[in-house]
C-alpha cells in the first residue's frame, strides 16, 4: 500500500491536524446500512435452514425460530424490510442526483478496470505502489453492484415464490421452480461473498482490524482518507497530495 500525503506542516496549515476526521457517510447511509445488516442476517438465518432443511442443524434452527411456518413468516417480514430498503436507496439516490448532493462516483468506469490491472501487477510485484483510489475503489464497487444484482434477483424470485398463484397470472409456471433454484443458490453466493469479501475488507484487513467503524460513526480518519481515498482527499483539500509511496513499494 502506498502512502499519499501532504507534508505535516501543510496539512496543519490547512487545518487538518492528525486527529481531524472526514465525514464519509451521512446519517441516511448509516441507517440504510443498519437496515441491511438486520434484514440480510435475518434473511440468511431464516432462509438457509429452509434450503438445507434435511440437515439436523437446520431442523434445530427451524424449531428454535418457532417452527417452519413462523420461520417463513419472519423470512417474508425481513424480505419486505430488505426490498423496501432497496427501493428507498434507489429513490434517494435519484433525489440526491437531482439535488446535486451526490455524484456518479459509484458507477463502474473504465478507470476501475485500469485500477484492477494495476492492483494485479502490484500483487505480483510488477508495480511499486497501489493504484490511487477515489471515493470508492473497484473492490467496493464490485461489492455494491453484487448487492444490487442480488437484491434484484432475490426480490424477483422471492416474490414469485411467495405469491405463486398471482405470479403465474403473468409469468410461465416453470419460473417458480427455476426461481426457487436461483433464490437458494444466490443466497449461498451472497452469504459467502459477505462473509469472505466484506468480512475481510471491513474486519480482517490489517489496516482496519478489528473493525472498520466508519459506516457506524460516519467518519474516517485523516490517515485512512489519505491512504485509501487519496483522489477524494485531494479533491476535498484542493491540493495534490505528495506521493511518498516509493519508500514503501
Amino acid at each position: 500500500m502506498n502512502r499519499v500525503s501532504l507534508s505535516e506542516d501543510v496539512l496543519i496549515s490547512l487545518g487538518l491536524q492528525d486527529n481531524v476526521e472526514f465525514i464519509r457517510f451521512s446519517l441516511v447511509r448509516r441507517v440504510e446500512h443498519f437496515l441491511l445488516i438486520i434484514s440480510f442476517v435475518a434473511l440468511a438465518a431464516t432462509g438457509l435452514p429452509q434450503k438445507f432443511n434435511a440437515a439436523d442443524w437446520a431442523q434445530w434452527m427451524l424449531t428454535a425460530m418457532g417452527g417452519i411456518e413462523t420461520t417463513r413468516w419472519l423470512h417474508h417480514f425481513f424480505a419486505i424490510v430488505f426490498i423496501m430498503e432497496g427501493i428507498f436507496h434507489v429513490v434517494y439516490a435519484f433525489y440526491g442526483l437531482l439535488r446535486r448532493r451526490v455524484g456518479l462516483e459509484m458507477l463502474p468506469a473504465w478507470k476501475d478496470v485500469r485500477a484492477f490491472q494495476h492492483m494485479a501487477l502490484y500483487f505480483i510485484g510488477k508495480r511499486q505502489a497501489m493504484p490511487k483510489f477515489g471515493r470508492y475503489d473497484y473492490r467496493q464497487k464490485f461489492e455494491y453492484f453484487a448487492m444490487v444484482w442480488g437484491w434484484l434477483l432475490m426480490a424477483a424470485t422471492g416474490l414469485i415464490m411467495w405469491q405463486p398463484t398471482w405470479a403465474t397470472n403473468y409469468l410461465p409456471g416453470i419460473l417458480i421452480p427455476v426461481g426457487k433454484m436461483l433464490h437458494g443458490w444466490e443466497a449461498v453466493l451472497a452469504v459467502l461473498s459477505i462473509v469472505i469479501w466484506h468480512g475481510y475488507h471491513v474486519i480482517f484487513h490489517p489496516d482496519v482490524f478489528p473493525v472498520d467503524s466508519s459506516i457506524f460513526s460516519g467518519r474516517i480518519s485523516r490517515m485512512r482518507m489519505i491512504n485509501e481515498h487519496p483522489l477524494e482527499f485531494e479533491e476535498a483539500v484542493g491540493r495534490p497530495a505528495i506521493v511518498e509511496g516509493l519508500k514503501r513499494g
Binding site: M1, Q50, N53, A54, Q59, L62, T63, G67, I68, E69, Y122, F123, I124, R139, P164, T165, W166, T168, N169, L171, P172, G173, I174, L175, I176, P177, V178, K180, M181, L182, W185, E186, V188, L189, L192, S193, I196, W197, Y200, H205, P206, D207, K247, R248
Partner: protein, 371 residues
Amino acid sequence: MKRESTSRLNITIAALAGAIILTFMIARTLGAAPPDIPGDETCLGCHAAKSLSTVTDKGELLSLYVDKAALDGSVHGKQVGCTGCHSDIKSYPHPKRSMVDRRSFAIESYSLCQQCHSVVYQKALDSVHSQVLKTQNQNAPICTDCHGYHNVVKPDTPKTRVSQTCANCHRPIFDNYVGSVHGKALTTEDNPDVPVCTDCHGIHNIKEARTASFRIESPEVCAGCHTNKEIMSKYNISTDVYQTYRNEFHGITTLYYKVNFPTIWCYKAVCTDCHGVHDIKPPDDPSSSVAKANLVNTCGKCHEGANQSFTDAWTGHLPPSPEKGFLIWAAQAAWAWFLIPVTVVGMLVHIGFDWRKARQHRRRESEDESR
C-alpha cells in the same frame, strides 16, 4: 486300580440319579395330565350333528355344529385338536358358561387364540379395532372375524384374500380400491407387487388412519415401495418420486412436522392429497387427479385461483436434467458449478495477495520506525 473303581462308582451314582429324576418327571407329567382327555372323535360324537345348537340369554340361536371337513382343511387341521383351542372344556357335561348373546360369546371366546398366538394377539390389542371394541362398538373385529374359526386358512393366499377380508366390513373403500391402479392389478392379475390393505395399514396392530401421525408418516409408506428400484423398474416408474417431493415446499414442511411435531395436523400436501388415497390412478390415466388436464382442479383444492400456468410449476417428480426441466437444471449448474466456485476462488485469491502485501508493508513500516 483305585482310580478305576472310583470312576465306575461315579458313573453308577450318576446313572442312578438320572433314573430317579427321569422317574419323577414321567410320574409328574402323567399325574398332571387329566386321566381322560377327550379326543376329537369324542367331541364330534355330538358336535357333528348339524342340529346341535343352544339359545343365548337374548334368545338367539347359537349353532354348536362343527364342520369336520372344514376343520380338517384348516391350517390347524388335525394337529391342533378341539381341546387345543377349547382348553376350557375338559369334560362332559361342559362347565356352564354365560351366553348373553352370540357376539359377546364370540368376544369372550377369541382370547383362546392367544394360547398359541400371543405375539400377534398382543399386537392386535394395540390396533384401532381393539380400541373400538373396548370403548364403542362390539362389532369391531376380533381374530375370528378376519381369520375364521374352525376353517382358518392362510390369510394371504391368494393375496386378494387380504383385501376381500377387509371388504367384509369396509366395502365402500374396497370398491374404491378395486378401481385403483393397485386394486386393478391385484384383482385382475393377482399381482404380488401391489399393496393390499395391510401393506399400508399394518397387519395386526392396524392404526387409525385419520390421525395426524398416520398422515405425516404416509409419504414413507408410499416410499416403501416407490423407492424400491427392483419393484419400480418392472413398471417403468421413477424411484425419485420421494426425494423430489422432499426437495420441494410441501415435502420440506411435512418433513419438519414429521421430525418435530408428528402429532400436530399438517395441512401441507402429502402423496395422497394429490394422487388420491384408495383410488390412486396412474398419472397417464385421464381420470387421474394428477393427469395434466386435472391438475388445475387438484392444485386448486389448496391453491385458490391456480391456473394452467401455475400447474406448469410442477415438474412431475423429475429431478432437473438437461432433458427435463432444462431451465431449472441450468440455473443450478450456472450457480453451483460455475458462478459460486469462480467468485469464491476469485475473492480468495485477491484477498490472499492483498493480505500478503499488507503484511509485507506492515513489516517494512515497523522496520522503518525502529531504524
